[in-house]
Symmetry: C2
Subunit: 341 residues, 2 copies
DNA sequence: AGACTGTCTGAAACCGGTTTCATAGCGTGT
DNA sequence: ACACGCTATGAAACCGGTTTCAGACAGTCT
């Protein structure tokens, strides 16, 4: 009963043509106010709702955007990053009247498959791509298919790609500089070489040390893969170097570092300070709560949707470009800020 | 270039009508093998992909299902439950060739709005609904709209609703009975009255105590709202009652309980045992790792998609029904299992 | 042989919108 | 008064499939 009213029916009731109803519906000009009013009344009274399918078949636009998450199961499950990002994108999409379709894949091959399916379906207006590894294997395919897309994170090849990223170099720098300024002398890091973000944070760490004339000893760098366990092992390797502070490249990894330190009977922050990165729920849930670099995930999602929206509308209007969101240091208990002279 | 091949073009190349191509595409009978073969060859060679939009306009089916998450921001952000569920649903949907659209809303009013929009768009074949509160305000609207849907969790009104839930009563029972059997005498609980799952887990706790002839003192029950902070406060209220064990109704809340116990200089499990519920990442990340009731979230997502698929196809074939997934106890360090006689 | 089935196949209608195009109507400048 | 331009409107084409319907053809029954 409810779905039975079509544009044809509305047109008849308002004594106009389908074309006019369509114009009113889409807010196009060239409709006399009186007519417009009459049509709107009929729409209101009948509770007419246009059929989106028909609409998008005709207009060749679906108002659906896809979010492609391609990451190891480790990441998606155990890190709060993707959920937070997904949520913010979903919210921004809803605000813009876009429907968000979700595609999660765990392997690159799987991702390629589903991407092909997605593209060929021709259902989506555009895509937001996130990947935890450096593999931006999708990009050539996307460029070839001429689908609007925005990359979240820094892609390996940048030309022709619009992307949104956090200032990871700045994050690593901020954290490390802060530790130096607090007076720590032996500052280690648990980094990651799993993705561009990890590389950048490490770069920031090194830059801060160098700028302030500190040695940048490779013994003080250990790598993890964003899991708690990997960071636990990394911390164990670092402890013999007797660091008095560590910059850990993600909150989840900080939990692992904390566990290793606890087992070694080292107190945080009295014996060793930690500055983390991300400011996701684990940062406040940890004991002690973590001083951490806040990555504006909500803003990343928002910008991504915003950019994509622009790309979908005015195809060639804005040239491909990278957008880097600034980060910010959130001071909590793990850094021993009290030790300041 | 790639999207240019239409059914019309394929028909011409194969020297048949659109109708025949359509029949081949959909595997309908009444096509001579020779013709079928010829059409398939053309399809293969041209790489033709049917346009889903047109297809679904004509067939009135979209292969898109919606996942509606209506929950306080607290929940969605800070608990791993929804991300895990979303992920499993996304995976199951992909396996069945369904596209998953995501709708997240934070307030009931917002949810109602977006639901109306979703339904009127007529884009979706069916819906999966999750809500953290008891408010199943959507249900009447959904039933009225005659849209196939599956509820995850236990809805307040059950008639006419297909739902998938975990055996929460069994979970509370299992945890509590286990603590009793380990020899603990004063078993408290941090429960939640925020949703049906919380009610059920509390019910299981009470049932276990009653069955084994233990008193069920209301001083030993404190309520939280699934956040760490609420559980921290709840635990503080419980400590004066001198419990020797606590059943905490979610992993995130267990983190809060742990924090309160640490501040009170009570060791886990030596001074007090904890059994948690959910077995999400925080359970293994906690210190000590938590003995917890594993809720099969992956299976819940899978069943939900499965049921919904059935409903979409054979409208009236299966009567509405509840599906309860069993739970399982995962023993880790927080329960002091070593104390067994 | 003629009537009757049953299996293939294509033409055309249809899904419900958007968009193009032709035309009617009106005001304006000369 | 006439040409001109501009706005408002409806008819019809179109998007790319699915589905209905009727007819062609082959095989079977009487």
């Amino acid at each position: 009963m409810s779905g039975k009213i079509t544009i044809q029916r509305v047109a008849e009731l308002a004594n106009v043509s389908k074309a006019t109803v369509s114009r009113v519906l889409n807010g196009y000009p060239h409709v006399r106010p009186a007519l417009r009013e009459r049509v709107q009344t009929v729409i209101r009274e009948t509770g007419y709702q246009p059929n989106n399918i028909a609409r998008l078949l005709a207009s060749e636009r679906s108002s659906i955007i896809g979010l492609v998450i391609s990451a190891g199961a480790r990441m998606v499950f155990n890190d709060a990053y993707f959920p937070a990002l997904t949520e913010s994108i979903s919210k921004s999409a809803a605000d813009k009247g876009l429907i968000l379709a979700l595609f999660v894949s765990y392997t690159e091959a799987q991702g390629q498959n589903s991407l092909s399916a997605i593209l060929s379906a021709g259902l989506l207006d555009g895509l937001i791509i996130t990947a935890d590894n450096k593999g931006d294997a999708f990009i050539p395919q996307l460029l070839a298919a001429d689908v609007p897309f925005v990359f979240i994170g820094r892609p390996g090849r940048v030309d022709g790609v619009t992307y949104v990223d956090a200032d990871n170099v700045g994050g690593g720098y901020l954290a490390t500089a802060y530790l130096i300024d607090l007076g720590y002398r032996r500052i280690a890091t648990i980094a990651s070489d799993q993705n561009a973000a990890g590389d950048d944070r490490l770069l920031g760490y090194r830059r801060a040390l160098k700028e302030r004339g500190r040695p940048c000893d490779s013994d003080m760098v250990a790598f993890g893969d964003y899991t708690l366990e990997s960071a636990y092992r990394a911390m164990k390797r670092l402890i013999p170097q007797k660091p008095d502070a560590v910059f850990v490249a993600s909150d989840t990894m900080s939990l692992g570092a904390l566990r290793a330190l606890r087992e070694a009977d080292l107190r945080v922050p009295q014996d060793i300070a930690i500055v983390s990165h991300d400011d996701l729920p684990p940062a406040t849930q940890a004991d002690p709560p973590l001083t951490t670099v806040r990555q504006p995930i909500g803003q990343a999602g928002h910008s991504a949707v915003e950019r994509l929206g622009e790309m979908i509308l005015g195809a060639a209007s804005t040239p491909p470009q990278g957008f880097i969101n600034p980060v910010e240091l959130i001071v909590r208990a793990s850094c021993g800020a009290a030790q300041l002279p």
